[in-house]
Point group: D2
Chain length 466, copies 4
C-alpha cells in the first residue's frame, strides 16, 4: 500500500480513574488519539476486584461498538491505540496487556520503546520468565512481578531498570499509576473531569474531547498514583533527569490542537513556517501545504512572505481501510487516490510547497510530479523539520538507515531526486526557536534523528553509520 | 444526532463509457463525490445485453467491497451517491434505478429535484403507471417508456415535460446519455480518460481522481449521447435556456478542488472571505474558520485583513457512522465530539469566526459557546453567504421556512441569539463578485434561497410566506 | 458450489395483521420458513398511513438485526424469504415488493410462479407499464393498478388474469389480502394468535413458532381479506377449481413438522418409506437416510422391514454461507464437507439408502461412492418420490429437461450410473397413498414433474420433449 | 439466554503436520469439532522459523474468512475451538496460546481441565512467573519453560506435574507433540492424510472431514512427537495409567459419527436406548427424542420396544448467535424458538420422550409442558444417562452442586417437578454395557458425575456434599 506518510508514531494511551462511565470516556479519548495508531485498540476496565478487557485489530470504532462498551462496567479504565510495526502485528501485541496474578490483576499500556528490551528479556528468560507477546511492554509486567515490597516500590524498581522512551499507564483494581521516562521523550498529560476524576492522555486533545481540564504534564522521571480521590507523586529514579521531548511530536505526530509541554502544536508549526521563510525565502506565486499536517506551516510561510496560501493539493478524506485500492494497471492509467493536485490553482504558477518532513523521498517526488503535471511551472519545497538522517529508537517507526534519503543524499542531490526547483530544510536552531518561542531554555528537545545525539545508550539497537 | 451541518446536497452522479474497469472507475469516482451524499450508493454496469446493479445504504466503501466490484463485469457504468431526505429513505430509493423492459434494460441516476413531480406522477398514475419508489427520478423512466420514436427522441420528449433541477445519467446496454436542466442548476462535467473513454461527473474532483482530463461542462438544456466512441450533442428543449447554477454549490456543497463552470471552488471561497472583510471589517486578534468548508473563506479574510489565521477550532476526523455517540448525560458533563475549540489559541483573544452559512442557528450558537468557554473574549461572526431566508426546491435539503432562522430574525436578533459580538453576512453582490471574479456576466447564479427569485414555477411546492 | 440439494423451493411468505409486535412476529415466522428460501428476505410493515420496508440478500438473521426490527413500527406486516433462481438475483427482486401510489401504498409477496407472465408483461408494456424487477410478482401490482372499482374487485380482476401457481399476501395500510391459485399448488395456512390477530404462513411450522393456532388453509381460488378484526372470504375466480397441491411439498420442501392440507409432512414421509419397502423390498443389514429430508422415510422403511435404522451418513450442520469452500485440489485430496459416511457403521454392511428424490444424479453418485469407500459392501437405493422426468413451471427450480437424469435414463441405466446395487422409486400410486392415507379422495396432487400432467397451459414456458 | 443445553464440553483441538494447506485443513477440522465449543476459535501455523496466530471470539466461520486463512502460510498448524465458562471469557483465553522465547516460539492448545492448577500457579508465581490469561493451559507453558534438557524431556517433566484431564497439542517450529492425560479422560485421535501427513483431532469426525485415515488413539499417559515425517511415541509418566474416558463423551458431547476408543458414538447411544427399554419399559403410542443428541437413543428404544419412532419435537436449525431472541412478553404470548412440539404427531398420544441427560431439570420441564399443550396425554421420560449428582472437574461445565437437580431430588420428586407421567434413568451398569458392548473389560469409564468416584484428587476444587 502506498501510504502518504512515511513516519509513524507507535501509540497513544488514555486513562480515567473513578468515573461511572470510565469505558465510554476511554473510548472517546482513544478516538481523539486515533491519529497516533490505527492498527489496534483496547480498553481495560477495573470493576470491583476484577479487571476485564476488550481489544482488537483496527480503528477504535471498528474494535468497539455500543454493545461492547456498555458491557464494560467499571469505574477505572485505561486504553491504548496502536501502530503495529511490520511483522510485529497480531492481537497478542495489542494493548493494554493484562496480567493475572493470585494477588490481583494488573493492566499496562505503553507509548514508547524500551531500548534495553533484549537485554532485560534475556535475563528474565534465564530466570524462568516466558513471554506471550513480542511487545517490549510485557517486560515491565515481569519486572514488577519479580520485585518485592509495596506495589509502588515494586513499580519504581522495575522502571529503574528500563531505559528508553515510555509513557506507561498501569491499572490495578483500585489504583492507577502514570509514569514518564526520565527524558520525557513521550508526552503524557494529566487532566481532571468536572466530577473530580483524574484523566491521563498522551495528548491534551483527548482531555478536551471528554471535557477534562488540563492540569499539568506528568514530569520526566515522575510516577503519579491515583487512589481513592488522591493524587500522589514521586520521582521513581535516582538517575539524572533531562527534559528532552521528541521534536517530531511538534513537527508531525501530535494533533495541532494539542498542547505539549505548555505549547500549542499548531502554533509551533506556524512558527516553523515563518522561520522557514526567514531562513529560505523564495519568490513565487502561491504557497501550498501537503495535507493535513503541513497546513499550519504553510499558513505561517504565507503570512511571513505575504505570498498567498492556496489549496493546491487536496486529500480524499474518505479513503480508509475498507477502500478498494487501485491496481497497478489502473494507477498507471492515472487513477490517483488520496492526494490530488488542483490544476486550476497551480496551473502556470510558481509554487512553494511546504511539507513537514522527508523520509524516503518517494512521496515528495510523487507530489511534485502531480503538481507539475497539473501545470505548476516551478515547485520550491520547504521542509518544516531538519533533514532526518538517523533512525529513531524511541518509539517512532522511521525507516532503517538505508531508507533515510537524507542519510544518503545532500540537500542538493535530494532536490534533484524529487524533481523540485529548490529545496530547503529548516535549521535545527530554527525549529527549536519555533517550538520554544516563549521560553528561555532552548535545549530540551530530542533531535537525535537529525543530529545523532541519542539521549540514551543504544544497547543492541546500535547501527553502523559509515 | 447532532450533525455539524444543517444543509445537505442530495446527490452525486458518475458515469464511464467504454472502459474495461468501468465499475472500478465508477467506484473511485463516487468516492470523490462522497461528500455529496453519504446515505446510499449504487453502481450499474452494462455488459453485453444486460444491465446489472448493486446498491445499498451507507458509504461507498460500506456498500462495495472488492468481491462485489470484481463481480461487476461491464464496460459501461453509472453510479450514484445519495443523501436521503428524512422519511424518504430505504433501499428502494437508492439509485441508480433500473428498469426492465422487453425491449431492453435502462438505468437512470439523478442529482436534483423535479418541481412538477406530483403533477406528472398523478397524470402517469391515471394512465396506469405504478411506482416502486418515492423518488421523483422514477418519473423519467415512465415518461421515456410512454414516449414513441427513437430512444433519443423519447428521452427528449420526456425531459421536455420535467421542470426543476436535474443532472441525469441514463445508461442503456450500448449507450449513455447525460443531460442537465435548462437552468444548469446542478453541475455535470464531461471528461476523457487516457484511453479515450468518456467520463461524466457531478464535480471535476471525480474526474481528477480517475485520471480523466476535463473537457467541458454539459450545458444547460443539453443532452449528450455517447455510443461507440462518438459523442453527440443536442438541445433537448425548445424552451429558453438560462445559466443559473446554484450559488450554494460554490459556497458549501462542492469540494474546494472542483471546478464548476470554469471556476475553482476554493478560489471563490477565498474571494468571498476577502470580500467579507471589505464589506464587514472588524478589529480582532485572530481569524478562524469552522472546519472544513469555511477554511478557504477564513484564509481569504485573513489575507485581506492581515489578521493572522489560526486553527481555533478542530474537527475530529474519525467521527463516523459507527461512532458511539455520547449520551445527553455525558454531553452535559462536557464530552464534546466532532468540534473542539482550542483553548491555547483562542484564550484571551478577540476572534473573527468565518462560517459558510447559517441555517437554523443552533450550530453557530453552540460553537460560539465553545469558543467563549475556551476563553475567547470576543467572537465576531462573518458568514460567507447571504442570509438563507427561503427554502430550496432544487435538490438542497434546507429546512422548512419555519426552521430557517434568517426568515424569522433580523441579523441583529440573530447575532444576539447565537451569542456573537457582531454578525455580518456577505451581500448578494459580494458573493456574485467572489464567484464571477474573472467573468463579465454577473447574473447567472440561482440565489432563490437568499432572495426568493425561484428560476421555475413552484407548482405544489409553493409555500406560505407571511 | 456443490450443494447437496438439487431442487429448490422458491419462497415462503408470512403475514400478521393487528399485533403490536408485527415485524418481530414476521421475523420469527420467516425464520421458521427459512428452509424455503435462503438468498433474500424482506419485511414490510404498515403503520398509520405508511408502509415501510427493509429487505436484503442473505438469511433472515443476516438481513435483520434487533435495531432494524425495532425501527419497524407497525401493527401489520408481511414478509418473504426467497430462493433466487440463477441470474435473477439482486436486491430488486427480493420481496415484498412495495408500490407507491397517490392513493396509498401497497405491498405484495409471492410464493409460486406465473406461467403466463410474459404474455401479461408484453401487454402491460404496450400500455405503457415499466418494470423495476425481473420478478413476475410485479405484474400483479400493475394489473391491480390498472383495474377499476373497489380494491377487492380490482385485486380479483387482476388475479383472474394470472395463470400458474401462487400464494400471495397483499398488504395495504389497513387491510391484508391472502390468496391462493385455483389449483392450490402452493400452500398457505391461516392461524390466529392468542390476542385474536390473524396470521398467514406458507407452512404451519411458522404458525407454531409464533404461538398461533392453525385455523384452516386458504382454499384454492379463495381470497381472504382481513380488515379491523374481521376475516372476509370469497372466491375470486369463475374458472373451475381443482385441488392439486404440489406433491413435492410433501416429499421434500416442507418442514416435517408442518401440516399441509390437514396432513403432517413427517407422517407422509414415513408412510412413503413403508410403502417403498412394500413395493421394493431388499435384504440388507441396515437402513440409512440422506440427511435431513430423507430421515423420516428411512425410519419408515426400517419400521416396515425390521431392518435397523442407522446413522450411516452425517451432515456437518455448521456449513454455511460464510464457510470457506475447499478448493478442487483439497477436494481431490479427500476433504469432504457437508456429508460424511460413517465408516464404523457402514463398513462391511449391506446398506439400504433412502433418499427423497434424484434430480441430476450427481449427488446420489457421490454419496454412494462415499459409502463404498467407507466399506459398504452393497448400496441399495430407494427413492421416496417417483422419477422426476419433467420440469416444473410452478415455482420449483428443477433443472432443465436436459439435466433431469430420469428424463434421459431408465431406472436400470441410472442405477448403474450412480453406482448402486439396486435402485427403485416409489410408484405414483404409492406416493399418493402415503400422502392421502386418511382420506377418501386420492387424486388431488400435482405430479406433473413425474407424469407431465401439467395443471395449466404452459404458454411460452413450453418445452420440447422428444 | 435460554439455551436448550445445560451441559457444555469445553474444547476441541486439531493439528496437522507437514501439509502445504495446513491452516485450511485445520479450519475444516475445527469446523467438524464446532459442537465442542462455539465461543472462540484460533489457529496457529508454523512457517520457517516463526509461529503466527489468528484467533477470535465466535464460531470458526466468524473468526476466519478466506483472506485470513490464505494469509496463514505454514506447513504445520494447530487449532482450537473453545467453550468459555462464565466469567472466564475474553480474547486472552482463546487458544492456541503462543509463547515467544529467545529460543523459539511455542504454541499450545488444550482440551480438559487441570485440577491442581491453583497449586501449580501459586508455586510458579512465587518463582516470579506472571500470567496473561486465566486459563490453566498457560501453566504448561511456564512449566516447560522452567524445565531443563531436551524439549521432549522438558515437556514430560512439565506434564508429570499436572493432574487432571487433558489432551494437549504443542507446536514448535519444526515439531508437534500430542499428549493425553494418564486416565485418558479426554479423547485424542491420530490420523493420516493421503500425502502421509499426520493429523490429530479430539474426535474422528474431524479426521473424516479432511479425508484422513484414522490410525489410532493417543493412549492415556502417552506423548507422541512428529518431526520430519517420523512419529515417535513414549510414556511421559511413571505414575499408574488408567483407561477412564469420560462417559459423557458417548452420552452427549461427541458427534454421533465419531469413534471413541474404537466405538461408534451413535451405536452406543442406540444401545443405550435399547437398554433403557429393557430396564424401564412402558406402554405408549410413540417414541420421540429430544433433538439432536437424543435421536439415536430414541431410535434404539423404538427398535427394542416396537413402539414407532416419530418426530414429535422439532428444532429450528437456523437459530444462531445473530438471532433476535423473543422478549419475555412475546414468549408469554406463545412465541417459541428452537424447539416446537408437533401437535399433529403427539396430539392424543401417549409419548415416550428420550433425552440424553437432565442437569437442572428446567429444560425437561419446559419440553414436557410443550408436549402436553400440544395434546400429548401421557409423557414418559427415559434418560439415556444415569442421574448427574456431582460436579465434573475434568473439563465439563456442569453446574454447581446446588444446581444439579438430581443432587437435590429423588427420581420420583424430579418426575413430579418436570411434570412427567413417569421417569427413569439408565443404570450405570446399563450405560457401561451400551458403550462396551463388544469388549470384555467393562470398567474403564469415568462416571464421577454419577457416582462421585473421581479419578484424581480434587485439590482445592473439592466441594461440600452434605
Amino acid at each position: 500500500m502506498d501510504d502518504l506518510k512515511e513516519l509513524h508514531e507507535e501509540c497513544g494511551v488514555f486513562g480515567v480513574f473513578q468515573h461511572p462511565s470510565a469505558a465510554k470516556l476511554c473510548y472517546y479519548g482513544l478516538h481523539a488519539l486515533q491519529h497516533r495508531g490505527q492498527e489496534g485498540a483496547g480498553i481495560l476496565v477495573a470493576n470491583d476486584h476484577k479487571l476485564s478487557i476488550h481489544k482488537g485489530e483496527g480503528l477504535v470504532t471498528e474494535v468497539f461498538n455500543s454493545e461492547k462498551i456498555n458491557q464494560m462496567n467499571g469505574i477505572h479504565a485505561i486504553g491504548h491505540v496502536r501502530y503495529s510495526t511490520a511483522g510485529g502485528g497480531g492481537i497478542m501485541n495489542v494493548q493494554p496487556l493484562l496480567f493475572r496474578t493470585m494477588a490481583g490483576d494488573m493492566g499496562i499500556c505503553h507509548n514508547g520503546n524500551i531500548v534495553n528490551a533484549n537485554v532485560l528479556k534475556e535475563k528474565l528468560e534465564e530466570q524462568g520468565s516466558i513471554f506471550s507477546s513480542s511487545s517490549d511492554t510485557e517486560i515491565l509486567g515481569h519486572l514488577i512481578k519479580r520485585a518485592k515490597g509495596h506495589m509502588i516500590d515494586r513499580i519504581c524498581m522495575a522502571l529503574e531498570q528500563l531505559d528508553g522512551a515510555f509513557a506507561f499507564l498501569i491499572l490495578l483494581e483500585d489504583r492507577l499509576y502514570a509514569v514518564r521516562d526520565r527524558y520525557g521523550l513521550r508526552p503524557l498529560a494529566i487532566g481532571q473531569l468536572p466530577n473530580g476524576a483524574y484523566v491521563f492522555a498522551s495528548e491534551t486533545c483527548a482531555l478536551d474531547i471528554v471535557g477534562a481540564k488540563f492540569l499539568r504534564d506528568v514530569e520526566p522521571g515522575e510516577i503519579v498514583r491515583v487512589k481513592g480521590n488522591q493524587l500522589l507523586s514521586r520521582l521513581y529514579t535516582k538517575q539524572p533527569i533531562h527534559d528532552k521531548i521528541c521534536a517530531m511530536e511538534y513537527v508531525y505526530f501530535s494533533r495541532p490542537d494539542s498542547i505539549l509541554d505548555g505549547i500549542n502544536v499548531h502554533t509551533t508549526r506556524k512558527n516553523a513556517g515563518k522561520q522557514l521563510y526567514l531562513e529560505s525565502p523564495v519568490d513565487a506565486d502561491i504557497v501550498i501545504g501537503v495535507p493535513d499536517s503541513s497546513i499550519s506551516a504553510a499558513i505561517g510561510y504565507s503570512e511571513a512572505s505575504h505570498i498567498p496560501y492556496e489549496m493546491g493539493l487536496t486529500k480524499n478524506k474518505y479513503v480508509g481501510r475498507t477502500f478498494i485500492q487501485p491496481t497497478q494497471e489502473l494507477r498507471d492509467q492515472g487513477v490517483r487516490m488520496k492526494l490530488s493536485a488542483v490544476s486550476s490553482i497551480v496551473n502556470q504558477k510558481r509554487v512553494i510547497m511546504i511539507d513537514d518532513s522527508i523520509v524516503r523521498g518517494t512521496t515528495s517526488r510523487r507530489i511534485i510530479k502531480l503538481l507539475k503535471e497539473a501545470g505548476a511551472i516551478e515547485v520550491h519545497v520547504r521542509i518544516a523539520s531538519p533533514a532526518i538522517k538517523y533512525p529513531c529508537f524511541y518509539g517512532v517507526d522511521t525507516s532503517t538507515l538505508d531508507e533515510l534519503i537524507s542519510h544518503k543524499m545532500t540537500t542538493q542531490e535530494l532536490c534533484e531526486y524529487i524533481g523540485a526547483d529548490s529545496l530547503a530544510f529548516i535549521s535545527e536552531e530554527g525549529l527549536k526557536k519555533s517550538i520554544h518561542f516563549k521560553k528561555e531554555h532552548t535545549c530540551d528537545l530530542c533531535m537525535a534523528c537529525f543530529n545523532k545525539q541519542y539521549v540514551t545508550p543504544l544497547y543492541d539497537n546500535d547501527f553502523q553509520d559509515d
